[in-house]
């Protein structure tokens, strides 16, 4: 599964994205966040405040309970600050 990270989440993890084999029991965005957090301290730091983490599946905003089955691309980022 292709994962992308933006802004301070990208900086804390130390890369803009990666392709990972995600176990089948990881069913939702919230599950994926918890699974990533356990991968190492840099992920723990990036996702320490889940309330400040937003997600997109296939370039569309989704909520934490969104199922990830069949997702081509999942992105994690802080609340947006454009305009």
């Amino acid at each position: 599964m292709k994962l992308l990270y933006f802004a301070w989440i990208r900086e804390r993890i130390g890369r803009g994205g990666e392709t990972l084999e995600v176990p089948a029991e990881v069913a939702t965005i919230a599950d994926l966040l918890a699974w990533l957090k356990a991968r190492g301290p840099e992920y723990g730091e990036a996702f320490a405040r889940p309330d400040l983490v937003r997600a997109a599946i296939n370039q569309t905003h989704v909520k934490a309970d969104a199922p990830i089955a069949g997702a081509r691309e999942i992105a994690f980022f802080p609340p947006v600050t454009g305009g």
């Binding site: 933006f6 905003h61 947006v80 454009g82 305009g83």
Partner: protein
Amino acid sequence: MAVRVQAEDFDVGRETSALTAGRTDIGAIVTFTGTVRGEAKGRPLASMTLEHYPGMTEAELERVEAEAHARWPLDASLIIHRYGELKPGDNIVLVIAASRHRHAAFEAAAYLMDYLKSRAPFWKKETALDGTGHWVDARETDEAALARWEGFGTRDA
């Protein structure tokens, strides 16, 4: 209807002329330009860098623009948003809404800005004069600004 995400600057006059060239049905054109302020929380700024999510940014801007066209009788519209390193005073974003009458154009331009601020995947990082960087926090007031559009806007505006 058009959306552009680019590093390059834009010229408001040139974009407005191009959007409405040859059109005699339009009676009202509202343009909004957002620019980089030279200070943040009382401290002078050296630069502001905008990061974005290529692909999703364009898709979100197009969704926001389509929604504005569904709510107001717009005859033409344009959204340009820049990314990369910008200096104080530089242009960041341009929204143009054109309609037969002013109310639809005013309202649609404000709606486009409110929605793109809360939906389009851009992130601002400010760099102070001493080189330290700071990611701008999202403002709750931006999210609250969306509430006023509930049930607002009609094709008869």
